[in-house]
Symmetry: C2
Subunit: 265 residues, 2 copies
C-alpha cells in the first residue's frame, strides 16, 4: 500500500520537465572513478579546468560534446581524509545539487554498478534501466515520514531508452551499506518492490525531483544479493567487468538521449 | 580499533579553522521546524526575504544579530511532495553545503533532539554536547571504505561550551532510520562508542570537514533507545518538551559562542 500511495503522490515530481524540449545538456552522475573511467575515454570527455562548485567539494567534472549536445560527467571524487571514493547518498545528493545548479541540465542520468536479486530476475552482467527509485534504510514509523523515508519516486518514462540499450526494467532500492541483512531484504523486496540494490540512485532522484529535472538510471549488476557469495567479494571480483559493461551501455544510452525530446525517452 | 584509527586519521579535519579568530558568523542547523520554533522566537530571528540558495531547495533561513554577531538558523524545511520535514542525512548534507557557501560561517552548530542509551548514561531531558560524530548505517566492508562509511570525526573542541550549558559529553551516532534494530545497536555502541542516536549530525560534520569549518553539536534526549517504550511513541510524546529544553540550551550556547575565539570553545 505504501508503494501505491507514494507512486500516486509522486506523479508530478517524476514527470519532471517532460515536454519542455530536447536534451541539449545532459548530466551523467557516476559514483566511482573505476566505474567512470572507460566511459570518459570512450566519449573523449576531458576534465574541467575550473570546478563549477566550491573547490572544497571533492566532486570531479568531465565535459565534452556528444553529437553537438553538452555532456557533463560528474564523479563523486575521493574523500580528502579517508582517500576512497565518496560513495553513498550524502555525497550523491550534494553532487546532484551542485551539478544541476552549475549546468542546468535538461536530464540527469545516473549510471553505475549495483547488486541484483536473482529472485527478481537479475543475473551478473545484466543491465537495467530504473523504473522507480526508493530508499531501504530510511525507516521512520511516523505518519507522513514513513513515505518520505521510503521516497518511492518513478523515474522519468524511459521505455524507449531501455528498448534501445536492450535493458530490463526494474525498481532500484538505495541504501548506504554494501551488505544486506534480512531486514533490508524485506524492505527492498516487499516494501519497495525492487530487484536492484545500490547506494546512490534514490538520493539523486530525490534531488532531481526538488529541482523538477527529469531523472533516468542505468545499472549493471555486479553481484547477486540473494546468492551464496559475500557481496563485498563478488563486487570486487566483478567491478572491472561490470564497469566495462556499464560503459558500453551508458555510451549507447547517452548517444540515444542527447537531442531527443524528453517526452520521447 | 576502527574508532581509534579514524580518530587518528581525522585529527586535521576536526580541528577545522581553529585559531582563525572569533565567531562573527554562526550557522545553526536544525532539522525540524518544531525543534527550531521556540529558539527563533526567543532570539527574535526573522525569515530571510530571499533564499540565498536555489529556490527549488526546501531549506528555510532565519537570521538576526546576537550580541552584534550574525546568526543564521537554517531549517531543513518541508518536502514538497510528502509534506513533512526533510529529516535525515541527505537534506542535512545539502543544507550544510548551501549554508556554508552562502554565509561563510566561522562555526556551524547543529542543535536538535536525539535518542539516548541509558547504558551510556542518558536520561530523557538531558542535554549533550557532541564529542565526535559517526554513521551507523553506512556498513561497507571494503578496505578504506569501512572507515569512510563509519566517518568518525571529532567535533571541534568544545569542553568550555559543555561546561557553560551544563551538558554532558558523548559521541553522536547518525543514521536515517528512527528505529534501532539489534545490528544498529551493536554498531552504535560497540563500533562507534556512542550513547546518542539521531539522524543528521554526522552528515553535517562531514560536510563541515570538507569545507574545514569547525563543527559543534548540542542534542537533547527525547527517548531512550535501550528502554522499554517504542521510539516513535516516546519521540512524539517528548518532542515538544525536548524542543523547549533544546531551545533554552541552544540560546545559551549561541550567546556563549558568538564573538568567542574558535580556539576557546
Amino acid at each position: 500500500m505504501k508503494q501505491r500511495d507514494a507512486h500516486k503522490a509522486q506523479g508530478r515530481a517524476g514527470q519532471g520537465r517532460a515536454g519542455m524540449g530536447s536534451v541539449r545538456t545532459l548530466v551523467v552522475l557516476i559514483a566511482m572513478e573505476a566505474e567512470a573511467a572507460p566511459l570518459l575515454e570512450d566519449l573523449k570527455l576531458v576534465e574541467g579546468q575550473e570546478t563549477p562548485w566550491p573547490a572544497a567539494l571533492p566532486f570531479k567534472h568531465y565535459a565534452g560534446s556528444v553529437q553537438g549536445a553538452d555532456v557533463h560527467v560528474v564523479v563523486l571524487g575521493k574523500d580528502p581524509t579517508f582517500g576512497v571514493d565518496c560513495v553513498g547518498t550524502q555525497a550523491a545528493a550534494m553532487a546532484t545539487m551542485a551539478a544541476i545548479t552549475a549546468f542546468k541540465p535538461d536530464l540527469v542520468l545516473n549510471a553505475g554498478t549495483a547488486g541484483g536479486f536473482k529472485g527478481g530476475g537479475c543475473a551478473v552482467g545484466e543491465v537495467f534501466v530504473g523504473s522507480s527509485t526508493a530508499f531501504h534504510d530510511r525507516r521512520i514509523a511516523l505518519p507522513g515520514f514513513d513515505v518520505y523515508g521510503q521516497c518511492l519516486l518513478p523515474c522519468h518514462p524511459s521505455d524507449a531508452l531501455a528498448d534501445h540499450v536492450k535493458a530490463k526494467r526494474g525498481i532500484i532500492s538505495t541504501g548506504n551499506s554494501l551488505d544486506c541483512p534480512g531486514g533490508d531484504v524485506k524492505t527492498i523486496v516487499e516494501d519497495n518492490g525492487a530487484c536492484i540494490k545500490e547506494m546512490e540512485a534514490a538520493s539523486i532522484a530525490w534531488t532531481c525531483s526538488l529541482f523538477k529535472v527529469p531523472f533516468v538510471a542505468i545499472k549493471s549488476i555486479t553481484d547477486i544479493v540473494d546468492g551464496d557469495k559475500p557481496t563485498h567479494e563478488e563486487f570486487m571480483a566483478n567491478l572491472f567487468a561490470a564497469s566495462k559493461a556499464i560503459q558500453v551501455t551508458t555510451a549507447k544510452a547517452i548517444k540515444f538521449l542527447v537531442n531527443r525530446n524528453v517526452s520521447e525517452l
